[in-house]
């Protein structure tokens, strides 16, 4: 692969991007404007931006998945591996995505989309791209062994990829992405939903890839975990890329770093698990065993633990979606559950229809919809399609569908995942409101800062 000399930094450049403007087909404004970026071998570049700022679009551009020929408008160029791809108003060349992916790999924000879902076990999923390249079985076994050690995936190799937890899915997708050994890796929220051990594994993997000469570009809502190790931190706002300064990074950190004050409660138990065992059909091992947990009115409890330790299972059981195979679950008030993946919870054509779905006409709940949309900052999106919204807003729409039923027990599965700072602030207001009205909150999370600030206590799940 050809490496060019970077005229600005003096270092060699593996990829150079100059985008004058990019606009999606049918959009009224540009998603990206004047974005210039150069990536050197072994460098770590971090782009921080709120949801909807254009991070995922930039990632797709770098991965050759955008612009769509004869649809999106793009002006600019990408230099990669000695090749220059020029986009203009007249010409938008079609890129061979498979060939491009050998140089630039993209881990999407929803990591599950990277997995093929047509392979039975994780080991096959890991070497899926090698199978398509015609690698020998020995080469594939060698790669699986290496990846298994590097990503601590030994216990997952025989598992069905469709039945992994969100964090496990991301880890497997990242491992599968690294198989092709691209010279540039674009990672969209690589640490989202990962437990502490997996976070260390991914961070170490990133360091190893850098030392091997891979250029890494991380797209993230916060710069926090990356500031110490990154070569460059940029902020992306309204489609414009700016060099980040310390003040803007600290502003983001400070915006959510406020400790919640405890609320005086009457001590009523709203939710109680006693010796509960939970499992799934066709699964030999129970997901949760011998769980004892009480959640009282005015109390906010966090569920922590490794990926796959049963946090989601507990929340689903509390919401009545799963029945315990032994033990008892007592629920003394209305529950509302926010699922981990908003796509599982959204299925209507507009945000307004989504939030009012299933509500009786002329009901009090239906009348409260505008108020809830305003509380979550979604009033202007009422007529938008939920799938067209940025990830953070989509998550808030899913939250609105829960809140409109005024649950006394709010169950939240990884609530901060995909939320930007404004979304986290809205979430905190919602939690405060539920607790102030005598309700309770039970949530699962890997976000240690959020747990420290919000939770009254933490229940550690051991799996």
């Amino acid at each position: 692969m050809e490496i060019q000399k970077n005229s600005f930094t003096g270092k060699s450049t593996v990829l150079a991007l100059e985008i004058e403007r990019f606009r999606y087909s049918g959009a009224e404004s540009d998603t990206l404007q004047s974005v210039d970026l150069e990536l050197a071998p072994g460098s770590l570049t971090v782009i921080v931006g709120d949801s909807g700022s254009g991070k995922s679009t930039l990632g797709a551009l770098l991965a050759g998945m955008l612009p769509r020929p004869a649809a999106d408008e793009c002006r600019g160029s990408i230099n990669l591996a000695g090749q220059r791809v020029q986009y203009s108003a007249q010409d938008s060349p079609r890129i061979d995505v498979a060939g491009w992916a050998k140089h630039v790999g993209l881990l999407p924000q929803e990591a599950g989309h990277y997995l093929s879902r047509i392979r039975e076990i994780v080991a096959e999923e890991l070497v899926f791209s090698l199978e398509n390249e015609g690698a020998t079985r020995e080469q594939m076994h060698q790669q699986i062994s290496t990846l298994s050690q590097r990503f601590s995936l030994g216990h997952l190799l025989k598992r069905d990829p469709a039945k992994l937890s969100g964090g496990q899915e991301r880890l497997v997708a990242l491992a599968a992405l690294s198989v092709s050994d691209p010279s540039v890796m674009v990672l969209d929220e690589p640490l989202a939903g990962l437990d502490a051990e997996a976070t260390v594994t991914v961070t170490e993997m990133i360091a190893r890839l850098r030392s091997g000469g891979t250029a890494l570009l991380v797209l993230s809502r916060t710069a926090g975990p990356w500031t110490a190790s990154a070569d460059a931190v940029w902020t992306l706002a309204n489609g414009h890329l700016h060099k980040a300064n310390g003040a803007s990074i600290e502003r983001n950190a400070a915006a959510t770093a406020v400790q919640r004050s405890p609320i005086a409660t009457d001590g009523r138990t709203l939710l109680e698990f006693s010796g509960v065992k939970l499992g799934y059909p066709k699964s030999e091992e129970p997901a949760v065993q011998g769980l004892d947990l009480q959640v009282r009115a005015g109390e906010c409890v966090a569920l922590a633990g490794a990926n796959g330790s049963g946090k989601t299972t507990v929340l689903k059981a509390a919401a009545g979606l799963l029945k315990p195979s032994s033990g008892t679950i007592q629920v003394s008030a209305e529950t509302g559950l926010l699922l981990q993946n908003p796509s599982d919870q959204l299925f209507e054509r507009t945000v307004l229809r989504e939030v009012t779905f299933g509500l009786p006409k002329k009901s009090a709940a239906r009348a409260k919809v505008p108020e809830i949309l305003a509380q979550l900052g979604l009033s202007s999106d009422a007529d938008s399609h939920p799938y067209e919204l940025p990830a953070s807003a989509r998550r808030l729409v899913a939250l609105a569908t829960v809140l409109v039923r005024e649950p006394k027990i709010l169950l939240l599965d990884e609530p901060t995942e995909a939320l930007d700072i404004w979304g986290v602030a809205a979430l905190r207001r919602v939690i405060d409101s539920v607790l102030a009205h005598g309700g309770a909150v039970l949530f699962s999370s890997h976000d240690q800062n959020f747990m420290d600030q919000i939770a009254d206590r933490v229940q550690l799940m051991s799996g």
Binding site: A98, L106, H113, S116, E124, N132, L337, S343, G358
Partner: protein, 251 residues
């Protein structure tokens, strides 16, 4: 207790094809019943008898009912009359025709269902991928075979989300119909969205392969199995010819 049969998927399929063609051509009650019994014994041996029976009954009951309706109750042949009332006319010939056609269909259904229970779909796709067939064949089969399980999974997720909103929780036939109505459109839209989101990453991972490709999964095969397949395919073609040739020109 469940056992597994470690035959190459193509061996199972070629034996099934030979069995169906020869039994259908022979049109013998005895052979048809023997084949069905053998299938049931085999299903019982691998621990899937109940599933085979339930699935076969679900398909064959309406099939037999319709055949009886067409050939048994309003027979027009000149064979011995058993009963007659208004437009209905039951004859021995009509019942025999209905049962013969029903038995042929039953052999096809039971053997086909047994194949779906014996053959691991992932093994079948791997076998096609490893065969000289064009890569598109494996891709088409994988897309078709795994679409239903994926849609079922998506349907469950949508059902859970709707249950959380107290929608589609009614019981009985009305409740079931309402659930179907509420889930159908989201299911199709979510499946399309999922396919769209996933397809670009599949392409990036080189799928479907344009040229030579391999599989991590090994599909057990042997010289004996390859010979059995050739013999089975030969029998599938020549068996019906040998059985039917003497009958040609006899009517």
């Amino acid at each position: 207790m469940s056992r597994s049969i470690s035959l190459h998927p193509f061996t199972v399929l070629s034996l099934a094809v030979a069995t169906v063609t020869i039994t259908t051509a022979a049109g013998s009650w005895l052979l048809g019943c023997a084949v069905i019994t053998a299938c049931l014994v085999l299903a019982g041996w691998v621990g899937r008898l109940q599933r085979l029976v339930v699935m076969a009954v679900a398909i064959l009951l309406p099939t037999f009912a319709s055949l009886l309706l067409i050939h048994g109750l309003v027979a027009t042949d000149a064979s011995a009359l058993i009963a007659a009332a208004g437009p209905f006319r039951v004859t021995t010939g009509g019942l025999e025709t209905a049962m013969t056609l029903g038995l042929r269909t039953a052999v096809l259904v039971v053997v086909g269902l047994l194949c779906t229970l014996l053959i691991d779909t992932h093994q079948l796709v791997a076998a096609i991928d490893l065969s000289p067939a064009p890569p598109q064949v494996g891709y088409l089969l994988a897309a078709s075979l795994f679409l239903l399980p994926q849609m079922a999974e998506k349907q469950r997720a949508i059902g859970q989300a709707q249950t959380l909103r107290k929608a589609g929780t009614g019981r009985g036939l009305t409740g079931w119909l309402k659930r179907v109505r509420l889930r159908a459109v989201p299911l199709v839209l979510a499946s399309l969205q999922d396919a769209h989101d996933r397809s670009v990453h599949l392409a990036a991972r080189g799928f479907p392969a344009a040229g030579a490709h391999t599989r991590l999964r090994a599909v057990q095969d042997s010289l004996i199995q390859r010979r059995i397949r050739w013999v089975a395919l030969f029998c599938a073609v020549m068996g019906p010819l040998v059985i039917l040739a003497p009958l040609w020109g006899s009517k």
